[in-house]
């Protein structure tokens, strides 16, 4: 059996090679190596974390933050004043780390959803995951069993996902458009149910607490929030990264992916369930924070290109940095009052989205 790539003569290949090199130099978009992107991203993230912890009503220096952290992990003597140490270790560090993990998780979840549904507007919200998680979380908040909140948020996200996919498959195949439309319906239903629960049961303080949580807030972050968010991120992030090639295969749709050896149904269900797990964990610790999952994957793919092995880690790092700064703004700009961080991400996200939309005109999104 002649091999197709053995078909053309050797001279064709030799002739073609220089043209490729020349063409790549002249026209290829700037695509820095992955190691450079990840290295830069990690460096920016570390600096971001250290600086963000110093910002707030009590003035701290970066050196103090570093010494406090090193003391807590047992690498040096504790020599930071007790109050400052407590501010770093008990208040700000858990919050900043939670913001980083949530930002990374939302960006990764958004990127995966956009590929699986082949819809550039997909994010966890669009498929009803966040609304479902919110419903679960609000239900346990008003019942006064806050300890169950992560479990309830996750269960809500999973239920919403199942409802969305079931609705999208009714009387037809699961196409991206149907998935988005079904997600909208499920979102609306979950939001209505959430409103009903609040309207029926909430009073005064708990109302305000719930509202701030629905708009997204990291104010309640503790070390257990860090554990939940970072744990979900590490587990889901690793699996998703290993499946990066399979996500690439979806570019031309389900049949093309199947022809490239991907088990389309299993991959889609597994990935969507993982995204539900991730989203449930994120919503459990921070409420519903918009625009990070929608906008960041697009912005990042301008630099990384669409290959998921490059896109996913860089989007995660960018999401972490972005949300840490957005949360820092949210808690300091109107000090002592806090803005829900979801308002800040919307204020940043909408203009970025507008710019991307202009860039994409006539291209990707036409």
């Amino acid at each position: 059996m002649p091999h197709p790539s053995a078909g053309p003569t050797g001279s064709v290949r030799r002739d073609a090679a220089p043209a490729v090199v020349g063409g790549a130099g002249a026209r290829a978009p700037l695509r820095p190596p992955l190691a450079v992107l990840v290295g830069t991203g990690l460096a920016v993230l570390v600096v971001t974390l250290l600086v963000a912890v110093t910002i707030g009503p009590a003035d701290l220096a970066v050196g103090e933050v570093v010494r406090s952290v090193l003391a807590h992990v047992g690498l040096r003597e504790a020599d930071v004043p007790r109050l400052h140490d407590a501010i770093v270790w008990d208040l700000r560090l858990p919050r900043v780390l939670t913001a980083a993990a949530v930002g990374a998780g939302l960006a990764v979840a958004g990127a995966v959803m956009q590929s699986l549904t082949r819809n550039p507007l997909a994010d966890p919200y669009l498929l009803g995951l966040s609304s479902g998680a919110s419903l679960g979380a609000v239900a346990v908040l008003v019942l006064g069993v806050g300890l169950l909140l992560p479990v309830a948020a996750f269960a809500g996200a999973l239920l919403a996902l199942v409802a969305t996919l079931a609705l999208a498959r009714t009387g037809g195949t699961l196409t991206p458009t149907r998935a988005v439309l079904a997600g909208l319906a499920v979102s609306q239903l979950a939001a209505a149910a959430t409103s009903f629960v609040i309207f029926w049961t909430a009073t005064g303080d708990s109302y305000r607490e719930i509202l701030s949580w629905l708009m997204g807030s990291l104010a309640g972050a503790t070390w257990s929030s860090v554990t939940i968010a970072a744990g979900a991120l590490v587990v889901v992030g690793t699996v998703v990264l290993l499946a990066a090639g399979r996500l690439d295969a979806f570019a031309f749709g389900d049949t093309a992916a199947a022809a490239l050896g991907v088990d389309v149904d299993r991959t889609r269900w597994a990935m969507m369930t993982l995204v539900a797990l991730l989203t449930g964990a994120m919503v459990a610790v921070s409420g519903a924070i918009g625009f990070v999952g929608l906008v960041l994957p697009h912005a990042v793919s301008v630099v990384t290109g669409p290959a998921h092995r490059r896109l996913l880690p860089v989007a995660g790092l960018a999401g972490a940095v972005l949300l840490v700064w957005a949360d820092t703004l949210a808690r300091t700009v109107f000090d002592p009052r806090e803005l829900p961080v979801g308002i800040v991400t919307a204020l940043i996200g909408v203009p970025v989205f507008a710019v991307l939309l202009r860039r994409g005109r006539g291209g990707t999104w036409s």
Binding site: M1, S5, D248, A259
Partner: protein, 270 residues
Amino acid sequence: MELSIAGVGTRLGGRWVVDGVDATPPTGALTGLLGPNGAGKTTLLRLVAGLLEPQAGAVLVSDPGSHDPAAAVPVHALPRRVRARHVALLEQSSDAAVPLSVREVVALGRIPYRTLWGTDTDPGAVERALAAASATHLADRAWSTLSGGERQRVHIARALAQEPSLLLLDEPTNHLDVAAQLSMLAFVRDLRVTSVAALHDLNLAAAFCEHVLVLSAGRLAAAGPPAEVLTPALLRQVYGVDADVLTHPRTGRPVIALTGRSSDGSGPAG
């Protein structure tokens, strides 16, 4: 790769869309898959690609894991990755707006060859596939800026990157101008890879295919060399058209001159 379609059938919504098709397309040559709209061409291609499991019969291919050339396995029973290394399918041209460069599109064809870490086992394969499909000059263009003919050329390069020994094409000449249609089919024919192409244009099929299969309402109406199969009687029966079949003065291949819908009013079954 040797291909044998043995009594293959499948139902969609209770109707047999492909019904008891028996055929053995010649190895290392281009076979045309003909038939009116709705005759089951696309479904048959998907069955041959192993993407659909037949509800009757089987599609048998040479076993890629065996040294015995006569060993055959059902294509849908091959492990997915193994199958993707041997069988490539070009879908009916989709103008999907994907945010990829041409080189990235062709690299998709290497997914079955990627390691767990996403690196290609043969880093030169993408450039070779681009060169083989004469698409090297397009490599850095954005997919969304390509013309229909250029897209089809890149799809071919993507399929070649899979290094297939069985190539399936669903209306590869759709949306192409005349010159591009000719060069597309000449290219596929000259690959000398076992290929099956669903085609609408009977004259293209007559000119480029060594063998044709004619489907009518899911059943095989005729199979064989174009000169034997494409007769006025068959065209009337399958397509419901009147035609004269001439012989090309230079190539000796059949040329179909259509004269109109058949006068007896008998239309195609579908």
